[in-house]
């Protein structure tokens, strides 16, 4: 072979190798990309059958939180409920399910806080997610939950919150100020003291 041909033939071969390797790399990236997104969600997913969401509290400065949608629907145990009926009150909105361990864990605290703030005009409202009426009512009587809950078997109420602060997992608790704006969101089980200070903060906001 002349040097000329060698110089010309060699590159073609290498170029093809590079191409093949690049393809391999791309598929590896595809795999990596997929895997990365799995890690990102931090769901308690595998076999658990619900998305727990990354726990944490988000607070909004006074008057800057998104306006809570005025959800309405059938109540657990019959009748209908509307969030609009609570206008002018600080509202604690709790997404729960009788089957969910952190919901059961926080239930006594929520019940106690509801009693504690009743006189000061703070209203509690539950939204029961992916539950059956029998289990929901048993849960409420078991934990002596005296405040009412909306029944949301089709997730439509949860969907209504998608453009505000979507409840990212169960349980999620929203504190809504008197002006109807969301002032705080707690993903994961709420604690007595943590939620208490969030409620006091919302109550201190001008209406």
């Amino acid at each position: 072979m002349s040097p000329l041909t060698r110089r010309i033939f060699r590159p073609a071969g290498v170029g093809r190798g590079a191409a093949a390797a690049a393809l391999a790399v791309t598929s590896a990236l595809a795999v990596a990309g997929c895997a990365t997104s799995i890690a990102e969600s931090t769901p308690a997913s595998n076999g658990q059958s619900f998305v727990a969401g990354s726990p944490g509290t988000t607070e909004f400065k006074s008057g800057t939180g998104p306006v809570a949608p005025l959800v309405r629907g059938p109540a657990v145990g019959g009748g209908t409920l509307a969030l609009s009926a609570y206008r002018g009150h600080v509202v604690v909105l709790n997404f729960w399910g009788s089957w969910c361990t952190p919901c059961r864990e926080e239930a006594p605290d929520l019940s106690a806080l509801a009693a504690h703030f009743k006189a000061s005009g703070v209203r509690f409202l539950g939204i029961d997610i992916r539950d059956s009426p029998a289990s929901a009512q048993a849960f409420m009587s078991d934990f002596r939950i005296t405040y009412p809950s909306l029944n949301d078997p089709s997730d439509n109420l949860a969907l209504d919150f998608r453009n505000t602060v979507p409840p990212a997992g169960i349980p999620t608790t929203l504190v809504i100020s008197r002006s109807g704006r969301i002032s705080a969101r707690v993903i994961g089980g709420a604690t007595y003291n943590g939620l208490k200070s969030l409620i006091q903060r919302a109550a201190a906001e001008p209406a």
């Binding site: 072979m1 002349s2 040097p3 000329l4 041909t5 010309i8 590159p11 073609a12 290498v14 170029g15 590079a18 191409a19 390797a21 690049a22 393809l23 391999a24 790399v25 791309t26 590896a28 990236l29 595809a30 990309g33 895997a35 990365t36 997104s37 799995i38 890690a39 990102e40 969600s41 931090t42 769901p43 997913s45 658990q48 059958s49 998305v51 727990a52 969401g53 009788s98 361990t101 059961r104 864990e105 992916r130 009426p133 029998a134 048993a138 849960f139 078991d142 078997p153 089709s154 997730d155 439509n156 949860a158 969907l159 209504d160 998608r162 979507p166 990212a168 997992g169 169960i170 999620t172």
Partner: protein, 563 residues
Amino acid sequence: MTGLRVPPGQPNGAPAQDGAQAGADGRTDETAAPGAPSRPAGQPGSFGLLGWARWGWRQLTSMRTALVLLFLLAVASVPGSLLPQQGIDPSAVQQYYLSHPALAPWLARLSLFNVFAAPWFAAIYLLLFLSLAGCVIPRSVRLARSARTPPPPAPRNLARLPQSARHESTLDPAAALDAAAGVLRRRKFRLRTGDGWVSAEKGYRRELGNLVFHLALLALLCSVALGGLFGYKANRLLVTGTSFANTVTALDEFHPGRLVSSSDLQPFSMTLNRFTASYVTSGPSRGQPLSFNAYVSYTAQPGGAVRHDNLRVNHPINVDGVRVFIIGHGYAPVFRVTDGTGKVVFDQPVPFIAVNTSGLTSQGVVKVPDAHPDQLGFAGVFLPTAVDVGGVLESEFPAPLNPRVSMISYRGNLGMDSGPPQSVYTLNTAGLTQLPVAPRPLAIGQSIKLPGGAGTLTFTGYRQWISLAITYDPGQLPALIAGLAALAGLLLSFFVRRRRVFVRAYPGPDGRTVVDVGGLARSDPAGGFGEEFTGLARVLETASRGPATETPSLTTTPGGKSD
């Protein structure tokens, strides 16, 4: 490779172009502009900051580095499959903390419980991406330039080329060249003429193919990134007669891309009205599924128009770019539980998971955390077509011809009032006591009365469920297009030969015009340039033959011998 750039004894001709060509071979030569003197690698003393940066870039974009990074990526994913991962199974991670209290915090510090989100993992694939982009972009520029370059001047000595031929012509040299140029032009060669020579080149589509391939590769990388950043995957199990909405709380599993927030989910909702499955009823493949039909109604957004569709295998529903597939089905027996106080504390379908496909024998658990005086738990099987095989109950057909459930009962603490979240498909029996109930399969409407006044379990019926995979991947279509374009470009570059033909005409010693023809395939993957050249040389000879010529002497030398 660098040595190739300035080969000793370079035959005359084609200097300008070959610089670019040699550059295209070694990815290490990236930054050395074609024609510019390349920086000698063995002179570190002359390296400035820029020199080091250039050296680093050249290393990063080298083939070797890309391969090493690819290998590293594979190695780095290994701990992800050996150690429990936070994103996939958080309870296993908690378990690991309990069993390895000293080691676990250190592993956590190294992100080994979250490998795919670890900074070092991201570093590897970002470097890999950079390395690939750094390789492909300059290559594309070079290829584009090479596709526009006219053929080089003809070498002086055409006999030294791999293919060459010589004939004599009765025409004068200029006319002979004109005739040759005419032939080559008709054959769609790109021409360049000079004093006493014509050089022609063909097969530029090869470069086009190469260019398309490289650009498509970049597009593919970007599409994959697009899908990884903005796409998501989710799963949801849906029982007949119920609905769900595409919002995070309603999903069983949710795997969002890096830039997906829960408010980005397309707000559709879907109801499963009816599900039918049909099976082969006789013959050796009895029990094999024939078809699944899930009759669903859905709205693209709240308050939108209700649409109806029939969801089948390989027939997903597309809502706003989100595709919903049916990926499984099963039975959800309906149970009613009355507790010791006589209150109905549970009444709902419970999805059971199939443990065998031939008879769809399914397992599941019922948890009744709000029963009094004690919490109740049940674990058991659902048999769609129960038959007694030597005292053991089995399901012999997947359709519900003779549905039975068989449950084991427990009372005590379900462990649901505190502690880590539980799977709805398993019963934690650590705090439970099994109740002495004679195992009796229940037909629809039958009950087990639990001893000690603990309550009653009634099997009231069954429903079917389907599991749905919800996928949104905005990079999918671009990736498909890019992949096809890459394939087309690759094929084009494989099957198109880039070849050059040179013609020189000059007066011979006897006064007759001598025509030298030389040929060179710059790439000859499919072979066959030799034949093409021989044929072409013959045509050129015919074209240059004057009215009164003798039999010409045609000599064709095959390539590879001249040196």
